[in-house]
Every structure is written in structure tokens, then in C-alpha cells.
């Protein structure tokens, strides 16, 4: 489904963020990408969202070469991926409901579908009562749950989560992880980037370890192993 082929990313001539990274993610898989800060996790996910272009190599998403996608086709690619970020990235002047509805508007869904789906998804993440709150009125955990609802609502085939629990306390962290597991069980591919050892070891799913920009290990099920 997603294939990284000899990906390298060089920001400046002295250091490479990624060097010759190759691996594949299949449908319905739950893959964790782990590594210390600076190992290249975020860079990898940015390349997948075409936020940045690789210096070398190719990334395929459903057989489409992402680095060759034109500016016009880019939105269409991104609509197939639900993205979750460490800093939530919610639209600050829209309510929780509107933030989730925005993802559906972008895809061109009708008002009828929006009115029926958004409350359901907010209910799934446990925020039915906070629909009309603005992000500034929500806690960190709640914000991340809005972000997950937004990533889910248009039923993407893959969800990409970059350190989604990085800013959360342990209880909220497990809520978010449980949500991701549930989403995966319902058939959506999940790629989770994290440096949280506990989460990785409890998940018992496939783990791709990055060290200094290269794939050090790729095991299923894997564990978080510090080198």
C-alpha cells in the first residue's frame, strides 16, 4: 500500500535526515516508527504527506509516486491520508465541530452527510458535549481527540500519527492509543511515529526502528530497543 524506496533526505550538506530508507506498509497494518529525537521519524511522515520532497528515492502510495504528484493533485492525495500531529494543528477560529466538518467540506461531502457523520465521530472520540467549544477551550487530550476525529471522519485508508501523545499525560496517552488501535481494528492502516517505549512494548505490533536516519530494525512484533 505504502512503499518507501531508497529514500534519502538531506537538509544541508553536513547531515542527512534519512539515508537509503526502504520498507513497505500493507493494508490494515499497524506500524510503529520509533527512534530518538532527530532519528528521522517526522521527516519520514512529512515526505509521505508531500509536505517535503525527498532528496533521493521514491515513495509510492497505492502505486502512485508521491514525489511526482503535481500541485493540483496534491490535495487529492492528502484527502486519502488522515494526519495527526504532536501539536494537534487544529484551526483555532473554528469550533471542534467545524474542525471536523472542515475535513468533510474539503472532500466535497454534502451538508446532510456532514450533519450526520460529524456528531457520530465526535461521539466515538468522546467529545459529543464539546462540539461547540473552540480549541482554546479544550484540554490537550481533548484537542488531540478532535484531531483524531478530523483525521477519521472522511474515512481515509491510512492514518498517520506523528508523536500524537507527545504533549499528553499518561491517562490521555492511553486513551489516544486505544482509539488508534480501535481505528486499526475497523480496517484502517495506522502509521504511528513515537519515542514512547512503554507504548511500543505494550502494543506488540510491527516496529520499524530508525537510528541516525537509517532503518536499524524492522520486526513484527517488535520492541523498543535502545542502542
Amino acid at each position: 500500500m505504502i512503499r518507501f524506496e531508497n529514500i534519502s533526505k538531506i537538509y544541508n550538506s553536513h547531515s542527512a535526515a534519512l539515508k537509503d530508507v526502504s520498507f513497505e506498509v500493507n493494508h490494515h497494518e499497524f506500524v510503529s516508527v520509533v527512534g530518538k529525537s532527530g532519528a528521522g521519524k517526522t521527516t519520514l511522515l512529512k515526505l509521505l504527506l508531500a509536505e517535503e520532497k525527498p532528496t533521493g528515492g521514491k515513495i509510492f502510495f497505492n502505486r502512485q509516486n508521491i514525489s511526482a504528484v503535481s500541485q493540483n493533485e496534491l490535495p487529492i492525495l492528502r484527502r486519502q491520508i488522515g494526519a495527526i500531529f504532536q501539536d494537534f494543528k487544529l484551526l483555532s477560529n473554528k469550533t471542534a465541530y467545524e474542525n471536523v466538518a472542515f475535513a468533510m467540506q474539503v472532500v466535497g461531502k454534502s451538508e446532510l452527510e456532514i450533519k450526520s457523520d460529524v456528531p457520530k465521530v465526535l461521539d466515538i472520540v468522546g467529545l459529543k458535549d464539546k462540539a461547540d467549544n473552540f480549541p482554546r477551550e479544550l484540554s490537550g487530550g481533548e484537542k488531540q481527540r478532535v484531531a483524531i476525529a478530523r483525521a477519521l471522519v472522511h474515512r481515509p485508508s491510512v492514518i498517520v500519527a506523528d508523536e500524537p501523545t507527545g504533549n499528553l499525560d499518561p491517562i490521555n496517552t492511553w486513551d489516544i492509543i486505544r482509539l488508534l488501535i480501535k481505528i486499526n481494528e475497523l480496517g484502517t492502516t495506522v502509521i504511528l511515529a513515537t519515542h514512547d517505549k512503554e507504548i511500543i512494548n505494550a502494543l506488540e505490533k510491527r516496529v520499524v526502528s530508525l537510528e541516525g536516519g537509517v532503518v536499524a530494525r524492522d520486526e513484527n512484533p517488535g520492541r523498543y530497543i535502545l542502542s
Partner: protein
């Protein structure tokens, strides 16, 4: 719209419905953002109001300056006096020749009889002078032609035309020589005022534009995070840009309304004062006669300013 093709397998009806839905969402979102961005919208609208106010004031000042200069030019003319024995037919023949000159705007004939009437009227309080005129059997006043040129610099040509030998026997005097310096100086001043007024106006208008443009740029800079997020969620450039353009239109509309709310009382106060000073210029009437045109062009200016600034400022942040 650029880059929009009807995708295969979708009927035209569905396609146009989708376009309408998108447009509807863009407009709604723009209105909501304008309202929710409260302070930012207020600041932008105020700056744009000042800009539009400057533009319209510069325009009105230009109108006033042009009419002041016009009035001044009307006051500059030369008079040609004729010998008492000059035949009226000769004078009228000269008048029609002057009328045909390209440089001449208007020629007015004052006969000896009319000159006497004007003299009597002007000195109606002066008994001695009037009596002494009556004691003379003949009318001592000369007939004259008052020549008004199209502009002050053209008098030289008119005078050299009058200096031709064929008119020498009937013309007694041309008063240009006495007024020459004044006329020339006034001509220069008018020319300089016209040009510098235009230049100063354009520079001020440009500065006002840059201030407004920068304000919009800053407002959009503060939204750069949001723009990135929308793009990452998969919004097309059109869908991200649209609400900002709608906001730009709103900024223009509201600013134009505010600007006019200041201009109307402003003209009501300044207009009559100016009228007392220069009766030829009635700013209040001018505003009344041109109200809708002024409002239309000012609003158009505001909308173009708002839309152009937003459009231009957002380009940079769409490249995600």
C-alpha cells in the same frame, strides 16, 4: 476556473452543484472569519478606511485645485483698446479673426456706449466725475475687446497677432505689456501647481496603498499556521484562498462605508467655508451631484485593494 476539469463519470449537473456548494461554503466561511477575527478585522478595516479617505480626499482636493486654477485663469485676460475713430465693422472683423485663433477661448466686445454705461455704473457714487463726463459732448471712452486665451501661456501669440501692421491704424493700446509679468508668473505658478499637485497626490495615494497592503499582509501572516493546516488536511488552494478573498471584499465594503461617513460631514463643514472664500467652488453641490459615482469608485477601490492585497499576500503560504 483554472485547473478545474469536469472529472469523467460525473454529470454536468452534479459538477455545477458541487461548485455551488463550494462557493456557498467559501462565502459562509469568509463571513464567519470576518466576524470571529474581531480585532484583526477592525484594525484592517480602520487602516483601509484611512487609505480610502486619503484617496477620496486627494481626489476632492484635486477637484478644488483644478477649479481654483480655472478661476484664476479666467481672471487673466488682455484688453485691446481702439481709437475713437475706428469703425465698428473693423473692430468686429478683428473680433471674428481672434475668435478663429486656436489659442483664443473667448472674445468679448465692449462698444463705446457700453464702456460709458460700465463707467457710470462703476462710479455711480462720484457726482463730480459723472458731471464732468456729461459736460463733454463726445463719449471719451474707447471701444475694446477683452480676449481670454485658453491658458496663460498663449497670450504671447495673441499679442503678436495683434501687433501685425494691418491693425496698427485702429488699435490704440493693448494692455498686455503692463500685465505681462503678472500673466507670465501666474502661468508658471499654475503649471507648477498642476504638476506638483498631481505628483504629490499620486505619491500620497501610493503610500496609503502600501500601508493598507502591509496591514492585510500582516493579518494573513498571522493566519499562516491555519493555511498550512488546511493544506495538510487536503484543501485545494481555491478552497483555502476563497474565504480570505471574501474577507477582502468585506474589508473593502465596510471601509468604504466608514470613509463616506467621515467625508460627508467633512465636506458639510469645509464646503461652506471654502464657498465663502471662493464663490466659484461649491464642494457641497459637487458631492451632491457626484455622490453615487464617488461612492461607487471608492467602494470599487476598496474592494480591489482588499482582494488584491489578500490574493497577493496569501500566495506565499499556499505552497505547502
Amino acid at each position: 476556473m483554472r485547473g478545474t476539469k469536469i472529472p469523467a463519470g460525473i454529470s454536468y449537473r452534479k459538477f455545477s452543484n458541487d461548485m455551488l456548494l463550494t462557493l456557498n461554503r467559501i462565502i459562509k466561511s469568509g463571513l464567519i472569519n470576518f466576524w470571529r477575527n474581531g480585532w484583526l478585522s477592525t484594525a484592517t478595516v480602520l487602516i483601509m478606511t484611512v487609505t480610502l479617505l486619503a484617496w477620496t480626499s486627494i481626489f476632492l482636493l484635486n477637484v478644488v485645485l483644478t477649479s481654483v486654477l480655472g478661476v484664476l485663469e479666467q481672471k487673466v485676460d488682455i484688453s485691446v483698446y481702439f481709437n475713437l475713430d475706428a469703425k465698428e465693422a473693423d473692430i468686429l472683423a478683428l473680433k471674428s479673426k481672434l475668435d478663429n485663433l486656436e489659442e483664443v477661448k473667448n472674445v468679448e466686445y465692449v462698444s463705446t456706449g457700453e464702456a460709458l454705461e460700465i463707467f457710470k455704473k462703476r462710479h455711480s457714487g462720484d457726482e463730480i466725475l459723472l458731471k464732468s463726463i456729461q459736460e463733454l459732448n463726445d463719449n471719451p471712452l474707447e471701444a475694446s475687446l477683452n480676449v481670454l486665451a485658453k491658458d496663460a501661456s498663449k497670450y504671447e501669440t495673441v499679442v503678436s497677432f495683434l501687433g501685425q501692421n494691418q491693425f496698427g491704424n485702429i488699435i490704440s493700446k493693448v494692455n498686455y505689456a503692463e500685465n505681462k509679468i503678472v500673466i507670465e508668473r501666474l502661468g508658471n505658478i499654475i503649471g507648477v501647481l498642476r504638476q506638483s499637485g498631481l505628483a504629490a497626490g499620486l505619491i500620497l495615494a501610493l503610500i496609503a496603498f502600501l500601508v493598507a497592503f502591509n496591514t492585510v499582509r500582516l493579518a494573513i501572516y498571522s493566519s499562516r499556521e491555519e493555511i498550512t493546516i488546511m493544506k495538510l488536511v487536503g484543501a485545494s488552494n481555491r478552497f483555502v484562498r476563497g474565504p480570505f478573498i471574501v474577507e477582502g471584499v468585506l474589508h473593502g465594503l465596510v471601509s468604504s462605508a466608514f470613509s463616506f461617513m467621515i467625508i460627508i460631514p467633512g465636506v458639510a463643514v469645509i464646503g461652506p467655508k471654502l464657498f465663502n472664500f471662493l464663490p466659484e467652488i461649491n464642494l457641497v453641490n459637487y458631492l451632491g451631484d457626484n455622490f453615487w459615482q464617488l461612492l461607487f469608485f471608492q467602494t470599487l477601490g476598496g474592494i480591489i485593494l482588499g482582494v488584491f492585497s489578500s490574493w497577493f499576500a496569501i500566495r506565499k503560504y499556499l505552497k505547502v
